[in-house]
Homo-oligomer: 239 residues x 2
């Protein structure tokens, strides 16, 4: 598969200019970043990093979706993060990465070699500050997800995932505010790995939600949520 890489002439044209790790940078700082950045593309299914790999670059998701997963020696898999456009990939000050990183769709990354980027964290305050904000947000999201994994039923887990994706997708391209339409960027297996379930349970709960009219889909990937609040009520987090 070949990937059309949009030619981004400069950071000013970049779709994630005002959300990514560079969003607080002024003109000068951006020039510095621009000097060390390069783009890389991955097609759906490709592994970007294997757990244990030396972490040669960090960067931002420009478009596409990537997942972070951990695998146990006996093969059990748990997804521990889902990276959408503008999310940051990698861990400054660490020599290796401890999760697999997989492109769930075609992905384009804006990469920085790790060492020079670490230098920039020390020297250009706005990079470090933004990265701190983003990391704190991700920590909040991870803790939210711990509640999902530890205490929710299969049905609530599915509803939570669908609601989260619908909400995050909607933030990228807003709809009418009541319902939502989106293309699931992940397979049933990936959903199962995210939710700590089996694919059979995911399938059954999707069918149940469909039968009850909370979601609709024909081809398993294009999901319609007629009423986001009704779906939210199934997540177990409403009063």
């Amino acid at each position: 598969m070949t990937l059309a890489i949009p030619r981004l002439k400069s950071c000013e044209d970049c779709p994630i200019r005002y959300n990514a790790v560079c969003s607080k940078c002024d003109r000068d700082e951006l020039d510095e970043l621009e000097a060390i950045k390069y783009y890389r593309s991955f097609s759906a299914g490709q592994t970007i990093f294997f757990a244990g790999d030396p972490l040669e670059f960090v960067g931002s998701i420009v478009f596409g979706v990537a997942s972070l997963t951990r695998t146990m020696p006996d093969g059990r898999v748990q997804m521990v993060g889902l990276l959408l456009p503008s999310d940051f990939l990698g861990r400054p000050h660490r020599e290796t990465i401890e999760t697999d990183v997989v492109a769930e769709t075609d992905v384009m990354l804006c990469c920085f070699r790790r060492k020079p980027f670490e230098g920039m964290i020390e020297q250009t305050p706005h990079v470090g500050q933004r990265l701190l904000e983003m990391t704190l947000d991700e920590l909040d999201a991870a803790r939210e997800w711990m509640l999902v994994l530890g205490r929710k039923t299969a049905r609530e887990k599915i509803a939570s995932l669908l609601h989260m994706i619908a909400t995050r997708m909607a933030a990228l391209e807003p709809g009418d505010g009541v319902g939502a339409n989106f293309t699931l960027p992940i397979t049933r297996e990936t959903m199962a790995n995210y939710l700590g379930l089996t694919i059979e349970t995911v399938s059954r709960q999707m069918s149940a939600l469909k039968k009850e009219g909370l979601i609709a889909f024909e081809d398993r990937r294009d999901i319609t949520v007629p009423d986001l609040d009704a779906l939210k009520a199934e997540t177990g987090e409403e009063d």
Copy 2:
């Protein structure tokens, strides 16, 4: 209950001077921090913050153990973080806190009012840099925990928790490197809330591990692990 608050004359005497958010600060930066810091103590069982409270201060655990928990409307509880000495409490740039924070043991905090502290993050680079490191470490830990919650059996969960506590406690006061002795800072109920289990299951698995000699305890709180590697083997993360 009254709490003996050790009089810490200055940061130089502080037990967490070289681990906490202040650890990279030089003399001048430390003076600035010292000007806005104050100590607060909480006795075991006290709630430090309720979810939704305005976040007036942030700070470091000087001694003791605190937990972060989320509660669902119907009462289900999931612990999402365990703070040991030197860990950071609070979220800069957020007006409210979204988890309950409870002192599991007597706790002493080194507090900074949030607003001035946020100013310091912008102006004294070593505070922000250290906080970024610590937040990235916490994110790694949260992701590790997602694997525990999503994919491990009850037995593996218990072994993982005991191994984690034993290891972290040992780092604070090292033993012989093979076994470990420690006082569980949390009740069975808190363990259950951390692991996404019920207290009955925790109790059963503790009894099972005890019967098999992997752990030993008389009074439910003082745990002996004769062989940390043997316990590790029960976590499911060994080859």
